[in-house]
């Protein structure tokens, strides 16, 4: 990993140039009292000291709704695959979200390769940033280990007037040189390390992820699931905002002419009541408690066991999004520990 640096002013200039070059550039912008990833129209919009965005950046690789195939109705030979576009550069991804993208990369390339996702991923350069604002629900430090570096092309670290840059990949190198970032002065990597070390989460998972997976073993019958589920709306907010969730539904739509149409996939969520419903109205995960448990096991055990990666990256979005205030993985684990 190379270390470079750039003044904040020059970085903004770089962003402005990028926008002017007519490439689609995405960054974090203010949305009311909150934040969201959006296409940048001016470099001033970019907001790098944000708390957390409402939705994670995965929406650019696994869009909320995405056309997979186009066809003429009734004509099976007319299926034709479509691959959407993704932004050229995404700026400002927190390490947790970066680790989540690494997990999605893994899942969509493992076994049958999902080129709809992978094609978009290959097209984008990801510029991460270490957070400077505290977010009361975040616990990334205790979850992600080094996973973020499996997806990031480079990371920015706020050093006051400058950004330190950790250059991770070839793409990262290219974009750093496009920024005219300079090779770090001596001691830059220590400075970066110090700045990173200063970032503390306000909450933390009481386990390492390996320990978490082991801890959850045999917790299926804990009374907590049922108790907590009494407050659950099965509204799906916790999974819809989650950067590591990638469940989807598939639907055929047709034009008003009924002559042509599209097969689309759209985000779905395992917390929704009918998620595991099959014909005959048999529901394999009928109780809210079972769904809540499935979510936490998936985040805290199944994915860790399967990929050796964090199934939850501690971004804290679910805790923020849950109107019932019951979704926080940390709270749940604390409760299970009692």
């Amino acid at each position: 990993m190379d270390f470079m640096q750039i003044s904040k002013k020059d970085f903004q200039k770089f962003v402005e140039n990028l926008i002017q070059s007519k490439e689609e550039v995405v960054g974090v912008v203010k949305k009311g009292k909150h934040f969201a990833y959006d296409i940048l129209e001016k470099s001033e919009q970019l907001c790098l000291d944000y708390t957390e965005t409402i939705l994670p950046p995965k929406k650019y690789f696994l869009p909320v709704e995405e056309t997979l195939l186009k066809y003429k109705t009734g004509v099976a030979s007319s299926y034709e695959a479509t691959y959407g576009k993704s932004p050229k550069v995404i700026i400002g991804i927190h390490p947790g979200d970066m680790a989540a993208i690494a997990l999605l990369d893994k899942s969509f390339s493992e076994g049958e390769k999902d080129s709809h996702y992978l094609n978009k991923r290959a097209n984008s350069t990801l510029i991460g940033i270490y957070p400077t604002q505290s977010f009361p629900h975040r616990f990334s430090n205790s979850m992600i280990e080094k996973d973020a570096y499996k997806a990031a092309d480079c990371f920015l670290v706020d050093l006051g007037n400058d950004y330190g840059i950790e250059v991770v990949t070839e793409k990262g190198k290219k974009i750093a040189s496009a920024m005219k970032a300079v090779a770090g002065e001596k001691g830059l990597n220590e400075k970066i390390a110090q700045a990173k070390a200063k970032i503390k989460d306000e909450v933390s998972m009481p386990f390492s992820r390996r320990e978490l997976s082991e801890f959850l073993h045999n917790k299926e019958t804990h009374a907590e699931w049922k108790k907590r589920a009494e407050k659950c709306f099965s509204c799906g907010s916790c999974v819809l905002v989650c950067p590591t969730c990638y469940c989807f539904d598939v639907k055929d739509t047709v034009a008003l002419s009924l002559q042509e149409g599209e097969r689309k996939r759209m985000w779905d969520g395992c917390m929704l009541e009918k998620f595991a419903n099959v014909a005959g109205n048999h529901n394999f995960r009928k109780l809210a408690g079972d769904r809540l448990k499935h979510r936490i096991f998936r985040k805290g055990k199944y994915i860790i066991d399967k990929f050796g990666m964090a199934g939850c990256v501690g971004c804290g979005r679910c805790s923020q999004a849950c109107v019932a205030n019951i979704a926080s993985p940390v709270d749940i684990v604390q409760e299970l520990k009692k």
Partner: protein, 247 residues
């Protein structure tokens, strides 16, 4: 053969039929798919039988029940169209109060005249069998189009059974609870693209609730926001969706 389609209205504001006119050019696509045979608000004409009938409005008088039953007999598929039809809509607010008081308040001395009689408001499925529901006050035009397309293709239309929060999240809205407001999104049926929260206004559940609304949890959440029990009941009964929700 194009399916014969009819629209009928009962007690309502006719805002849902208006959404058909609001389809603009697309209405031409619709009339290419179906044969509009009866639609009093936009065309002059009648037919004896229908393949698909849309019923707008709620049922508030005995004679309307008879009219509806007759329409049902002549319809292959009957669709409750809009909140008044699917749940009773705002018209059901009337049921929450004493009917005699209500009648006196509006008609004063004449309240007891026979033709001003009113029965408790009913949703369409409280009178006849309903095949499909197009919820909303008013209905969502895109949902209407997709139901028409589905039926024209012989597909069973799928009406959302998940809460408004889903669509609200997909639109990346700021949650109203994070802005200090309240919202029925967690228990309300989706399909509207979360239009109210997207306009920074709490969902009023005009599409009724999801099949298993967690009403106790909703109560608890609203009470935590310092809403009195009375205010909570008012929230729940704006569209009188499910009077027992407030119990």
């Amino acid at each position: 053969m194009k399916p014969k389609v009819a629209f009928f209205d009962f007690a309502c504001c006719e805002g849902c039929q208006l959404q058909i006119a609001n389809l603009e050019e697309e209405i031409l696509g619709v009339v290419a798919l179906v044969d509009l045979v009866e639609f009093r608000e936009v065309l002059t004409g009648h037919a004896p039988e229908y393949d698909i009938t849309f019923i707008e409005g709620s049922i508030t008088r005995p004679e309307d029940e008879e009219r509806l039953k007759d329409i049902r007999k002549r319809s292959k598929i009957l669709i409750a169209f809009g909140a008044c039809a699917t749940t009773g809509g705002v018209n059901k607010i009337k049921n929450l109060r004493n009917l005699e008081t209500v009648r006196k308040e509006v008609y004063q001395d004449d309240w007891n005249k026979p033709h001003l009689n009113t029965a408790p408001t009913k949703a369409v499925d409280e009178v006849v069998k309903v095949d499909y529901y197009l919820h909303g006050c008013p209905i969502n035009r895109n949902e209407f189009l997709s139901v028409v397309k589905d039926l024209a293709m012989g597909k069973v239309p799928r009406i959302p059974d998940y809460p408004v929060c889903v669509e609200c999240k997909l639109r990346e809205n700021e949650c109203l609870y994070d802005l200090g407001k309240t919202c029925l999104g967690p228990i309300a049926r989706a399909g509207c693209a979360a239009i109210c929260p997207s306009n920074k206004s709490g969902c009023e559940a005009c599409r009724g609730t999801v099949p298993n609304p967690n009403k106790n949890a909703m109560h608890e959440v609203l009470a935590k926001r310092n809403l009195t029990v009375e205010a909570i009941i008012q929230e729940f009964t704006m569209f009188a969706v499910n009077p027992e929700v407030s119990k």
